[in-house]
């Protein structure tokens, strides 16, 4: 620092002397020799080159801004091949060719399940390569011991598609086709489409930015390097001007010096800014546009020359109109307003602080900070409960309360069930008087008893369930919550006692109940509980501790309807354990799988396995295709109870 000051002082003195010599010619009788001037000119040129070099090695810096306009990208099931394979076969093979071994296991299982082979025949078919028509896939699985050739390993490292990866893709496809998965809707690209890969990178960036902008509210000041290298212009002009003996060129250096001096400012005092945010309406219906108005005011005494602001739009909401970004200059007391629209989503959404970047007039220093309004802004969107007309897929298990679940027990009701011999004490109204008139025998009519059930709706909100077929669409968790809210309303209307729980979230629990107050509580919980909030990335937990807690809360006769895409083995285990523990389980499973990549096809196969296993264990599963509505999916499922 002291060196800099010294140089600056000497420079100013020299400048003064130069100007003085100009004002009073002859004041300094310096007979500067021609060769000295040439030397100094060369020196200036050399210094200019050095500055330019320095600029090349020190890049400009600027704050990165968040991308709050869009929700984070939705992952697809089977985004990672290794995770999908590990779900089939969690063995930790130490060899380089782990994937091939795992694929062999998958192929064997598919052949035994879908071709009816026993395991030995299936293995033989794989060894001989007769299990599929695809020669690449057949050969890929046939030679287990072959390692990757060196060239392929290199090409894998370099990112190109090698024979190895092609083999994996073709094998996955052959396995999926053997399992009856329709793989025709893929676009012919051997790997996930480039747009998908690029898109997911975008999405990941967006998620990262969003997190960093909110997580780091401490103000930081940095030098932007915007004017770095301007002194080279001054030096070059002086060097060239002196060497060419052109006074006009030397004067150009004055411009360069002026800019270098103007960019010298290294400090930036903290601006006094206030923001105010209003939302209209604050309690919208789903998909209703909400107008957000953000006003930023300069409360300080100095002008803010360069203000860049990105509003903290809640993660789950997407901006549909306008931009939540503003760039402006503010005089003291002045304010600027930015207006944009977001589409409402189910849930309670709190706005984060606005990310604010302030620069000096010259732009050489940048300060990054977060600014929050005095009061937090929230949008609460509680969708109405919409019952469905389809019968809800409950299993037959009566309780003592009258309701609408058809039981396998005869008694009092509406629908004819059976007749039996009269026992004394039967009510006169139920004696079959027609038969008595015909035959003289006394028989009692029995009607199908309709009783209410106690049902707990359990929503899978694990990380593995937060997937969907399209990046900018719903996740299976959102589908599950929507379905749960519809079934909640329907079951309550039918006179059942209904409760709500979320997989792995102990605080998300509504004990089974009935009545209007319960209905309102359930609606609030489904709409606004943080565990079910859209845009949240739930942690992946093994849910068995939670399962024990749930079992202690469940009433003994409660049924469970589990909403899950069945994308992880743990959920299927939960369903089986609940069922084995005496709670009749039904699974409603939105299907988020895609067959766009080999890994996606394998994930589809894995999900089919899980559904088949659950059904084999006597647990009904509603396989709900993504494109269908819930009532249609329920109507299309035949109930074997």
């Amino acid at each position: 620092m002291s060196r800099g000051r010294l140089l600056a002082a000497v420079g100013l003195v020299a400048f003064a002397v130069g100007v003085g010599a100009l004002a009073a010619p002859g004041l300094f009788g310096l007979g500067v020799q021609r060769y000295a001037v040439v030397a100094i000119g060369l020196l200036a040129a050399a210094a200019a080159i050095r500055v330019v070099q320095g600029r090349r090695h020190s890049p400009r810096r600027r704050a990165e801004t968040a991308t709050p306009e869009e929700p984070p990208a939705v992952a697809s099931p089977g985004e990672e091949l290794d995770a999908v394979l590990a779900a089939f076969d969690p063995t930790h093979y130490g060899t380089a060719d782990r994937r091939r071994k795992q694929l062999r296991r998958v192929a064997t299982e598919v052949l035994t399940r879908y071709r009816g082979d026993n395991e030995a025949t299936a293995r033989e078919a794989i060894e001989r390569g007769t299990w599929t028509d695809d020669p690449v896939a057949a050969e890929f699985l046939a030679d287990e011991r072959s390692r990757l050739p060196l060239t392929d390993r290199l090409r894998t490292r370099l990112g190109g598609q090698s024979a190895y990866w092609q083999g994996i893709e073709r094998t996955a496809r052959a396995i999926a086709e053997t399992a009856g998965v329709d793989t025709d809707d893929r676009d012919g690209s051997p790997l996930p489409g480039l747009d998908r890969v690029v898109g997911s990178l975008d999405g990941r960036d967006a998620g990262l930015d969003r997190a960093s902008a909110v997580a780091d509210p401490t103000p930081t000041t940095r030098s932007t390097g915007h004017w770095r290298g301007i002194s080279a212009a001054a030096l070059a002009a002086l060097g060239v001007g002196v060497l060419a003996e052109r006074a006009g060129v030397v004067l150009v250096a004055v411009v360069g010096i002026a800019y270098a001096a103007a960019a010298r400012q290294r400090t930036l005092s903290a601006p006094t800014l206030s923001v105010e945010r209003t939302v209209e309406p604050a309690d919208p219906e789903p998909d209703e546009p909400v107008t957000v108005t953000l006003t930023v005011t300069n409360e300080g005494k100095r002008p803010v020359w360069d203000l860049r602001l990105v509003d903290g739009v809640p993660p789950a909401l997407s901006v549909v109109e306008g931009s939540p970004r503003l760039g402006t200059a503010l005089w003291p007391g002045a304010s600027a307003t930015v207006t944009y629209e977001v589409a409402a989503e189910r849930g309670r959404h709190e706005f984060g602080p606005s990310q604010v970047l302030v620069r000096t007039l010259s732009g050489s220093v940048e300060r990054e900070q977060a600014v929050e309004p005095a009061t937090t802004t929230e949008i609460t969107c509680v969708p109405p409960l919409r019952p469905i007309d389809e019968p809800v897929p409950l299993r037959r298990q009566p309780t003592r309360h009258t309701g609408r679940v058809e039981t396998a027990t005869g008694g009092e009701g509406v629908e004819f069930f059976a007749t039996r011999a009269y026992r004394s004490g039967d009510p006169l109204s139920r004696i079959d008087w027609n038969r008595h008139a015909r035959t003289g025998e006394l028989a009692t009519l029995e009607f199908r008893e309709e009783r209410s059930a106690t049902v707990v709706l359990v929503i899978d909100r694990d990380e593995a369930a937060a997937v969907g077929p399209s990046q900018r669409g719903q996740t299976a968790v959102q589908r599950s919550v929507d379905a749960a809210s519809r079934l909640f309303a329907t079951l309550l209307d039918d006179g059942n006692r209904v409760g709500i729980a979320a997989l792995g979230a102990r605080d998300c629990w509504l004990a089974p109940g009935a009545g209007d107050a319960h209905r309102v509580r359930g609606r609030e919980l489904l709409a606004t509980h943080p565990a079910l909030a859209p845009g949240e990335t739930p942690e992946s937990v093994l849910p068995f501790g939670w399962l024990a807690a749930l079992r202690s809360q469940l009433p003994g006769d409660a049924q469970v309807v589990l909403f899950s895409p069945l994308c992880s083995p743990a959920v299927a285990t939960v369903a089986r354990q609940l069922d084995a523990g005496g709670h009749l389980v039904t699974v409603v499973s939105p299907d988020p799988t895609t067959t766009a990549s080999g890994a996606g096809q394998l994930a589809t196969v894995a999900r089919r396995f899980r559904i088949a296993d659950l059904r084999a264990a006597g647990i009904p599963v509603v396989d709900w295709p993504w494109a269908q509505s819930l009532p249609v999916a329920l109507a299309r499922t035949r109930w074997s109870q």
Partner: protein, 168 residues
């Protein structure tokens, strides 16, 4: 909606290209070398704001500046040199600001106010410096062909060194 458009902002890009053209006209009117080198510079600045490349903008601005110096060596009037130099710096500055603003706020945000205020500040500094330089020249720098430039040179070197020592 897929991502936001983070390409350089329109106002700043237009300002940069306009300033680059002014610099080219000021220097190229006198010297063929300036016209050729400066033409390449304008192209690079244009490419830089189109592709959001700081390096292209800087190289383009450097080429424009070399053109201005060449015109000066070939005897261009001092007014043209000063206008050319200020316009070159303005082009470089506006293009850099447009790229940064585009990256931080995107094209759809309202940013014209920042860009105009910033360019105004830059033009003001350059205008003042040019006015001082022009006054010095008018006062008769030619009568002191060596003493004054040498002291200005030393001053500039020291000032630049001072700035470099502070990381500028």
């Amino acid at each position: 909606m897929t991502g936001i458009d983070r390409s350089p902002t329109r106002t700043g890009s237009a300002l940069a290209v306009l300033a680059a053209l002014v610099a080219l006209a000021a220097a190229g009117a006198v010297s063929w070398i300036a016209l050729a080198v400066g033409g390449v510079g304008v192209g690079l600045v244009l490419a830089g704001v189109a592709l959001a490349r700081h390096d292209a903008v800087s190289t383009g601005a450097a080429a424009l500046f070399v053109g201005v110096l060449a015109a000066g060596v070939q005897g261009a009037p001092v007014t043209a040199l000063l206008v050319g130099a200020v316009a070159t710096v303005l082009a470089w500055d506006s293009a850099g600001t447009a790229i940064d603003l585009g990256a931080q706020l995107g094209r759809s945000a309202t940013t014209a106010r920042i860009e105009l205020v910033h360019a105004g500040g830059t033009a003001l500094v350059g205008g003042l410096a040019a006015a001082i330089g022009w006054s010095i020249y008018q006062l008769g720098l030619g009568s002191q062909p060596l003493t004054v430039p040498v002291f200005l040179l030393v001053a500039a070197l020291c000032l630049a060194g001072a700035l470099a020592a502070r990381g500028g």
